[in-house]
Symmetry: C2
Subunit: 147 residues, 2 copies
């Protein structure tokens, strides 16, 4: 007879109650998913964290806990915080690229207008630089890395 216990109850070698907090989010066909969160957070903590949430948020919470646990197992020093650092660095690199492009556009615009007396940029959005300023400001709102 096939077992009807969820992955958590199988792992913990216990009966799977009908109201098991794990069963919907840790199905028996993916035992590694529970093994990961158990190793990093502990079964008791995971159960408490799920229990403290409204039912409709639990699936997302289980997914994010699994993601964090997976990252921590792959990178025991930084976990998914390492990914946050990489993404902050990527954003910084792209901001540098934008600054460079803005300098190129400023050069093109100034050179064309003052030296050649041409109206060469009728399609250039007059709010462009303002938008760019807004764009760089938007990074001030991103989550702060506080190591």
């Amino acid at each position: 007879m096939a077992s009807t216990r969820c992955a958590a109850c199988k792992y913990l070698r216990r009966r799977c109650p009908s109201d098991c907090i794990f069963s919907l989010y840790f199905p028996s066909n993916n035992p590694q998913r529970f093994a990961y969160v158990h190793k990093i957070f502990g079964a008791s903590n995971v159960g408490k964290m799920l229990q403290d949430l409204p039912v409709h948020r639990r699936a997302d919470a289980a997914d994010s806990l699994y993601y964090e646990a997976h990252c921590r197992i792959k990178d025991p020093v930084y976990g998914c915080v390492g990914i946050i650092n990489i993404l902050h660095q990527e954003i910084h690199n792209v901001q540098c690229q934008i600054a460079k492009i803005q300098a190129e556009i400023a050069f093109l615009g100034t050179h064309a207008q003052s030296d050649q007396q041409l109206q060469i940029a009728p399609n250039l959005d007059p709010n462009f630089l303002a938008e760019q300023k807004g764009l760089s400001n938007s990074f001030d709102d991103s989550s702060t890395w506080f190591f």
Copy 2:
């Protein structure tokens, strides 16, 4: 007499041994730091994770565990995975901005060169588009969000 126990041993109400795994990373003057990681990961798991690392990596690991725990307490559904999602969205937005700017530059260059027969962009790096291509490719290497 002032206590010499670290924040972890104070929290766990136990003697702080001379070789305490927590004492260097959870000093007594910051009890909340240990309370956070204890709530999310459990003291035993934190101790095991630190113990499994070389000594010179443990400070960074303790910092990243604290950061993750802090994020999970602020956002019990997504934790710091929510920050990863926000940063991915920011990168996507910046990529869209770059595509828009590239279109503006293409317009400026084509219009100026073909209609006005001017060489208005001597300072425009000839490798610019190649660099931009490389830039967008670099995002393919970023960590994949696999919900």
